[in-house]
């Protein structure tokens, strides 16, 4: 099994594209957009915060879709996508948590608080870390794929429920950026044109980066599998 030159070129092109987008996004975050009125310079981290959250959401979403597809088709490529999604999603949600803490320290005067949103991202991180533990703990590869798919789905159901709780319970101090909310407007950002531009540019950039990273991770896994198969073949011949 090998990849077509054309697809490799597409991947290479969007990899460079993602890199360029990332540089551009950083320039926008630091120079294009001005400091926020009430929060000052520290607010600049927010663009990465939300961008990486979108990345994590997309990656974990890919894992659920892949899990359902795997249980239906038993095609191992879906399992590969599932692992890729979890690993990339874990990376991004770590960035979300760290940037959030960096922002919370000057604004809320604490690194961490058990606000429902913070709680739910902590649960999300733990659930997917547990997913990796489950994979490490099951030896039979076929069973490992099946269990990982099942756990990916049930963990996502649990996370969805947590998100619903938060929407229904407006006792959060976390600023609400998108979607209708009955929370008081005091916490939300004053959105200027430049802030909106920068935000959407960052979201787009992080979405592209997520796709690129997942794609590369899938290819890496395929390479590992192929090496493993080759190793077995060589051992069998000896």
């Amino acid at each position: 099994m090998s990849y077509s030159v054309q697809r490799t070129n597409v991947l290479r092109a969007i990899t460079y594209g993602a890199l360029a987008l990332f540089v551009a996004a950083m320039i926008m975050n630091l120079f294009y957009v001005g400091p926020e009125r009430t929060q000052g310079e520290v607010q600049r981290v927010f663009y990465i915060h939300l961008g990486s959250f979108l990345g994590a959401f997309l990656a974990f979403g890919a894992t659920v879709v892949a899990g359902i597809a795997y249980l239906r088709t038993r095609n191992t490529k879906w399992d590969t996508l599932g692992v890729a999604g979890v690993e990339i999603g874990l990376g991004f949600s770590t960035i979300t948590i760290l940037t959030g803490m960096a922002w919370a320290r000057p604004i809320w005067n604490t690194w961490w608080t058990w606000d429902p949103r913070l709680t739910s991202i902590a649960i999300m991180w733990l659930a997917y870390a547990a997913y990796m533990m489950l994979r490490a703990g099951i030896e039979d590869p076929e069973r490992r794929r099946r269990f990982a798919a099942v756990y990916g789905i049930i963990a996502f159901a649990s996370l969805l429920y947590t998100v619903i709780i938060i929407r229904l319970r407006p006792d959060t101090i976390h600023p609400v950026v998108a979607g209708p909310t009955q929370a008081d407007p005091e916490g939300s950002f004053e959105v200027s044109g430049r802030i909106r531009d920068t935000l959407f540019f960052n979201l787009f950039t992080f979405a592209v980066i997520t796709v690129v990273l997942v794609w590369h991770r899938v290819r890496l896994q395929n390479l590992l599998d192929r090496t493993e198969r080759r190793k077995m073949e060589v051992l069998a011949e000896l």
């Binding site: 489950l134 703990g137 099951i138 069973r143 099946r146 963990a155 429920y161 229904l168 319970r169």
Partner: protein, 248 residues
Amino acid sequence: MSASAEHTQSEAQVQAAASPRRRAMTPYLRTVGAIVWKDLRAEIRSRELINSMILFTLMTVLVFSLALELDADARQNIVAGVLWVTIVFAGILGLGRSLASEKDRGSLDALLLAPIARSALFFGKMIGNLLFVLVIAFVLLLLLTVLFNVTLFKPYLVLMVLLGSIGFTTVGTLLSSMTVHARARETLLPILLLPVVLPILISAVRASTGILDEMPSEDWMPWVQLLAIADVIFLVASYALFDFVVEE
């Protein structure tokens, strides 16, 4: 020897063995009932699981009361947390054993060999686990009422305990049927289970605290409803996913 002397009506029955009269699959509720009956019967005889769960519960409550030397007010605030943390950890103890013993003796294979719906097997094991957890919860309510001097036997609190236990044992039974195949199953089960049941735990603790503080019902009723919804979600998800867990 006696084995050869006494084969009576079997020969004739063998011929009927493949007759279409027999149903392809054993009725659902009969299967669930048979598994619950078997688990209870075995447990009543050995009392292995329930004894260790109750002892664990006693010790946990003791540790909590010693570690948090609380005055009356503080106790009132923390009792819901103690209740649920203890239910969860004692429950994990039971969940881990319930399927592990089937797996290690090979009797899980015997169950899978029978012409029964896989999900009936799930609900059978789940109801058995739920009954054990409810026994623990009852002991706990009694214990905390006495030791913390807080009246816990209130209708809505009992309802909360029931709803929370259903959600917890549902996910727990599904996940423990996966972790029995893992190398470090005792550590893997809590790692997998806790993040998934945390939303249930949060709702249960919030509602229980509200009920105990005698707050107006509109303050905690949404949590009860959310918990009921979560139970339904997890029951449906487990029903749909269990087949994939036990097949090979």
